[in-house]
Amino acid sequence: MAGHANADLAEAFADEPAFVPYLAAGDPDYEASLEYVEALARGGADVIELGLPFSEPIAEGSTIQSAIVRSLEGGMTPDRFFEFVGDLDVDVPLVCMTYYNLIYQYGAESGPRPFVERAAAAGLSGFVVPDLPAEEAGPLREACDEFGLDLVFIVAPTTRGDRLDQIMSQVSGYVYVQARLGVTGAKDDVSGQTEESLERIAEYDVPKAVGFGIKTGDHAERIVGAGADGIIVGSVLVDIVGDGTERGDSTETIAERLESKARELKQGALRGYEQRVPQAEGK
């Protein structure tokens, strides 16, 4: 574990591989979105990444962009987001995934502290901020330490050497291992870069959650089999919300689909872990 360990996030990875789903809060509207997030929890989520939508999501592919547009059009704002967190009936840790400008602008005082304070009060456990590199993360890291929240960083296939050290010295909770180049989005294959990435960061003592492109239980199985401590899954779930909404399906139907997809992914992860444990023990 790295130098920062403020919240309960790492614990979620302690016993078995963690399933970390993502949804944009408020997609397509506040009420339905509460149902969907709760369905993920029922389906076996160990941590949930909740997107607070920003108007310029430069790290997202088209699926999550669309979710962000729907959520913004539904009236989502930072304050509504904190309300949303309060209204959620789940008992897994929640991570806020958003862009730095929203964190920076929040509250009267300039800088990230007011946002973090409010997040802590709302019961959030940490943050992922895709446009905040370690070099610029000082003030947010400090505020997280002050309020006991985790700050998750993303490690890309291209991250190496000094950069990797710097990120690893700042991360807490878990590290988000980006499985491939590019932006978020479900893919039909598992990136060959995953194992290589996991190997590169093996020595660092922090849970490693792999994301970007995971779509099925099989993907999850293979990734956990390759050594991941958890899987992060976003676009395929967001698609369930988006497609169902577009087709006019009921909230319950969509929630059921999410729950069963979550189950599939969690089961996959567990299978991967089972394959691995004996091997690991064999070493």
Binding site: F54, S55, E56, P57, I58, A59, E60, G61, S62, Q65, S66, V69, L72, T77, P78, Y99, Y100, N101, L102, I103, Y104, Q105, Y106, S110, P130, D131, L132, P133, E135, E136, F153, I154, V155, A156, P157, T158, T159, R160, R163, I167, Q178, L181, G182, V183
Partner: protein, 415 residues
Amino acid sequence: MTQKYADGKFGEYGGQYVPEVLMPAIEELTDAYERYVLENEDGFMDEFRARLRDFGGRPTPTQYAERLSERYDREVYLKREDLLHGGAHKLNNALGQVLLAKYMGKERIVAETGAGQHGTATAMAAAHLDMPCEIYMGERDINRQRPNVFRMRLNGSAVNPVTTGRGTLKEAISETMRDWATNVEDTHYVIGSIVGPHPFPAMVRDFQAVISEEARRQLDEQTGGLPDAVLACAGGGSNTMGTFANFVDDDGVELYAVEAGGSSLEVDEEEGVAPNSASLSTGEEGVLHGARTKVLQDSDGQIMESHSVSAGLDYAGVGPELARLVDDGRVQAVNVGDVSALEGFHRLSQLEGIIPALETAHAFGYLEEHSEELGETIVVNVSGRGDKDLETVIEETEKRDIENAPSMAEFSGGI
């Protein structure tokens, strides 16, 4: 050529707020910038200068404007970037970056474009240097700027429509960053202004600084001295910083960044819309497209849609260096609205025989309104020519009944 702020910070502005996946590319680019641009390694800057001369047509003149000088009873000089190949200052930067990409061994170029000026400049540079090139452009802009889309296609570039959001420049930048994040290993992103993460703001400024390098020398040759005021329109701010760079240290020279005041400086928070693009004048500090800078945003920090009669100024952010210079009081952030810009457009066309870009026209709007405060000798940058704007001018002139315009009646249906 200024070499300031090579660390990528302009006071609290600047930085590198980008997804981790891009950081190695940005570090590689920073390294290349320092070696090739700042140190002239392998004669990069010599080759850049030679190509700007032979392909781009540099130097562009600094022309004494007789009739404007008479009108305002002061000496008005025009820096003629409208004569650069492609019709705007944009090529200085595009050529520099595509050449740099070649030196870096990149095999593919991506770029965003709004009005299409940066896109056409990049497509020209890419054809000239034999680099495959894809341009991202908002779908709405594609429909508004068809001739520029066609020009890019003629030069062999692909034009990829961006359908997210409102389909304009802001979304095109985001989308180009996504492409870059996906193809970061063999691809260079040619950003179109002094915006984005370091080293872009410094690098684009250095490529554009040739404007003020020439203007300063040419004015000295003609007047034996420095101007009292330098005016340039500001969107992202590349022509502005290019025009200011070599005057920043001359304390006696007042620098005016003229933004698009649009139809009003008031914003509509509800709609997330600013009816202007005056981020220097009215924006708040924030993080957009990889840099901390002045941004048009609502109180939550969501970026607003900007508006201007000139598509090329229509951007919610501005270069971090300009934001800093404005805070420092070194640059005056001013603005004029759509009407004043249109009047400026017609005035320059009629009095000087130069049809300026609508972006450029803002500087002439400000000159008209404030000539008396600008001292004896004034340099105005003519950042581009107006051929691309003819349809817009017809429409917007008719709509507003611009006083000094010729009758638009016979062109009502478009041209």
